[in-house]
């Protein structure tokens, strides 16, 4: 390793650490989580094996026989050593215990009444029915609501409870009874089959498309071109104005929008003068919510395109405009024939860059509508965030949320590669395209 390589690695070191910690590791973890069913319910550490009402309901009917489910759900009464020991500890008559062990040892009764009848038939039975009932209870053996830390112990108990359990049934039941997280691919099939997914995709496309077209590219282009034809001082002033949203803190920025739109906000205060009833302009209809979401994002997003387009237009040599002017081209024809053809690369760059950043950014929606009203303005990234990390229901589905995030990462990486190829990235970084 040469001195230079060492030096290079030394300089890159901090960057590598940051990339690994803040990008690579989260992506890898997201990939891992997306193949688990982790949620608030399963916790992120291990779990126990336990038959509960909901486990029994979940057992698939085509894989587990109904009578197995019945025997799992019902209590059994087994005359075993543990029960006998409990009777001795209660101080019951040893002769009664002796006779029970002798005549019914290891016998299984499906109901308490049967065991009670059997006890009543014994020669050394206690007189008191209450004592007999108490003894019966000591033999009640049930898997329900009992925690097993180890799979082996649970399987043994299961085999005790259901004598003729098949291997497949055992596997299915063990799986269903485990309360911790497991590896699974079910997130993907669930994502694919959930009707809500389609709506979220439509929302996302609408959000990205409209913000991009109307503001990040469209309005940015209008600003760049119009300010080109303004005197220097005025154009700098307008560009500075449109840059302000970009540099204002996002929370305050959205708060200002909320003040504008709230029931007692600015719009209503003005309209109230004309006797109009107040309403929440941001959230009272889906259309309004979309208008605000796109305006809030667009006002922030237009500045980047504006700056890139402006500098690209400035890079066009002045004599080209002079030439076009004396050739008889009007302002509009100069825009169409001289400016726009020179903006092909900046346009492509801004479109793709902003597409990627709009796909993954949801902070302004989260701060303004939170995906509402209902979930009509819920986009993919917001949906993933709410599924995995923050929702009202309280059951945070880390695994499912991670799956949604992973899909977004995959789309992002695929799109980036596609765009780089489409652009021929070398073109962008090689010598300037306009010669003088």
């Amino acid at each position: 390793m040469t001195q230079q390589t060492k030096l290079g690695l030394g300089f890159m070191g901090p960057a590598i650490v940051i990339v690994v910690l803040l990008f690579l590791a989260p992506v890898l973890l997201t990939g891992f989580f997306s193949f688990t069913n982790m949620s608030t319910a399963t916790g992120i550490s291990g779990g126990t094996y336990r038959i509960t009402e909901s486990v029994l309901n979940r057992l698939p009917a085509d894989q587990v026989r109904p009578d197995v489910i019945v025997s799992l759900s019902e209590s059994q009464f087994v005359v075993d050593e543990a029960g006998l020991e409990a009777m001795r500890a209660e101080g019951l008559d040893p002769a009664f215990i002796e006779e029970l062990a002798e005549r019914h040892g290891a016998e299984v009764f499906t109901s308490g009444d049967d065991l009670e009848d059997a006890m009543k038939d014994l020669d050394n039975r206690p007189r008191s029915i209450r004592v007999i009932k108490g003894a019966v209870d000591m033999f009640e053996r049930s898997l329900r609501d009992r925690d097993f830390a180890e799979e082996a112990a649970f399987t043994a108990a299961l085999d005790d409870a259901v004598v003729d359990l098949t291997d497949n049934e055992r596997v299915v039941i063990v799986q269903a009874a485990y309360s911790g997280w497991t590896m699974t691919t079910s997130n993907f099939s669930r994502l694919w089959s959930t009707p809500q997914t389609g709506q979220v995709i439509i929302n996302t496309l609408f959000y990205v498309g409209m913000t991009l077209l109307l503001f990040n590219v469209g309005f940015a282009l209008v600003l760049a071109i119009t300010t080109t034809f303004l005197p220097a001082g005025q154009s700098a002033f307008f560009r500075a104005i449109w840059f302000l949203p970009r540099i204002s803190p996002s929370v305050l920025y959205v708060l200002l929008w909320k003040w504008l739109a709230w029931d007692t906000g600015f719009i209503n205060a003005v309209l109230g003068q004309f006797g109009m009833a107040g309403r929440n302009w941001m959230l009272d209809t889906t259309a309004n919510a979309w208008v605000f979401v796109i305006l809030i994002n667009g006002f922030v997003g237009a500045s980047m395109g504006m700056i890139i387009f402006t500098s690209a237009i400035r890079a066009i040599p002045k004599p080209l405009f002079y030439a076009a002017q004396v050739d008889g081209a009007s302002r509009w024809q100069q825009v169409r024939f001289i400016i726009l053809p020179q903006l092909v690369w900046p346009l492509l760059f801004v479109s793709t860059y902003q597409t990627l950043s709009l796909l993954t950014s949801f902070e302004y929606i989260l701060l303004s509508t939170e995906g509402g009203p209902g979930s009509t303005t819920e986009v993919w990234s917001l949906s993933a965030y709410q599924t995995a990390l923050s929702n009202y229901a309280g059951n945070l589905q880390y695994g499912y949320g991670a799956t949604m995030a992973l899909v977004l990462v995959a789309i992002g990486v695929a799109a980036s590669l596609l765009f780089l190829r489409l652009f021929n990235f070398k073109h962008l970084v090689s010598r300037p395209r306009i010669e003088q």
Binding site: L320, Q325, V326, A329
Partner: protein, 352 residues
């Protein structure tokens, strides 16, 4: 079409670049605006084509006052120093652009493009882009674009400055040919006196926003209005000496020069401070009036050599001699001067 500038004035902020300029370019004439950079020649051209607004005076094309018209309305062809070809368009699209913005039918545009391309001899390049062309080819495309609307007026802003020396010679002749074939009235802006003199019918030499002299090239060379014009025209440059008139002779004691004045100035009053200008071709071995000095430098120029004759006070007179001349560096020589051709200036630098 005749171009008239009437008291044309142009300011940039507080700086007046051109003030009260009068200039008339006759129909079909080609006129050069010659001067050093910053003298206002390009500014004048940009005002004529409407890129710059006029701050005072009028500009007339024929009888039409175009002072307030936009450049789109003036219909002038312009060739820019950088050629200003549209980099994303093919040669054909570049040439056809002035017609395209007029929304002419494509067939008509194609026909006109082919016709004009033939005129400037680039028919085989129509599908290329400007980046794929040599400097000379780009120049021809720029010319074709300027000429396609058959403008009555053609403006050329340093059209040869970006070409190499050999190509410059060819294009000089080529531009002149096109201008004469199309009968266009043309203004050429240049800082190169050879270009101005070789291409144009008349030359307007400019200094600090004013026209110093406006005359045909030959007349201007032979009879410059002042030392500025005399110094600007001619290669190698003219040599100036300061002295005084003394009984029909020019005397400069420090330089050791004593020459008879041209016959028409023989009666100049004695003692008056004057200057003379000696062009390099005025050195004439057959003349008896001589200047003496030492040869300080020799430039070989092929057919002839250029000698620097250093006078006793360090002033230099440049002279051209046949290459056969045998003088060596450091030789002390006395060379004759054709004193009849000699230029004589008064103390203010104006020609007497």
């Amino acid at each position: 079409m005749q171009i008239t500038l009437d008291k044309f004035t142009k300011r940039f902020g507080d700086v007046t670049v051109v003030e009260d300029m009068d200039l008339t370019v006759g129909k079909g004439e080609m006129v050069a605006l010659l001067g050093e950079s910053g003298c206002g020649k390009s500014t004048t051209l940009f005002a004529v084509c409407g890129i710059y607004r006029v701050d005072g005076g009028r500009i007339l094309f024929g009888d039409r006052d175009v002072t307030r018209l936009s450049s789109q309305e003036r219909n002038v062809g312009v060739v820019f120093q950088s050629f200003a070809l549209y980099p994303h368009m093919t040669v054909a699209q570049n040439i056809g652009f002035p017609l395209r913005v007029q929304k002419k039918p494509q067939a008509e545009i194609d026909a006109k493009v082919r016709e004009i391309a033939a005129l400037v001899r680039i028919e085989n390049l129509l599908d290329r882009r400007p980046g794929q062309l040599s400097g000379g080819q780009q120049q021809r495309v720029a010319l074709a674009r300027a000429l396609i609307r058959r403008p009555a007026i053609l403006l050329l802003d340093e059209p040869l400055a970006n070409l190499d020396a050999k190509l410059r010679l060819d294009m000089r002749a080529e531009i002149r040919r096109l201008q004469q074939e199309t009968g266009t009235t043309a203004i050429l802006v240049t800082h190169d006196q050879v270009e101005a003199m070789s291409m144009c019918d008349r030359v307007a030499i400019m200094d600090r926003g004013k026209i110093v002299q406006f005359a045909p090239p030959r007349a201007m060379y032979d009879k410059p209005a002042n030392t500025f014009v005399a110094g600007f025209l001619g290669s190698p440059p003219i040599s100036f000496l300061d002295g005084r008139a003394e009984n029909g002779r020019f005397v400069a004691e420090a330089s050791g020069v004593d020459l008879p004045l041209p016959s028409h100035l023989a009666s100049l009053e004695s003692g008056r401070p004057i200057g003379i200008g000696i062009r390099s071709e005025f050195l004439d071995p057959s003349s008896t009036a001589t200047v003496s000095g030492k040869i300080s430098f020799i430039e070989a120029q092929g057919r002839e050599d250029l000698y620097y004759l250093q006078l006793p006070d360090g002033k230099v007179v440049r002279g051209i001699q046949d290459a056969a001349h045998s003088a060596q560096l450091g030789d002390a020589v006395s060379w004759g001067v054709n004193t009849e051709a000699m230029l004589v200036f008064d103390a203010d630098g104006n020609t007497l």
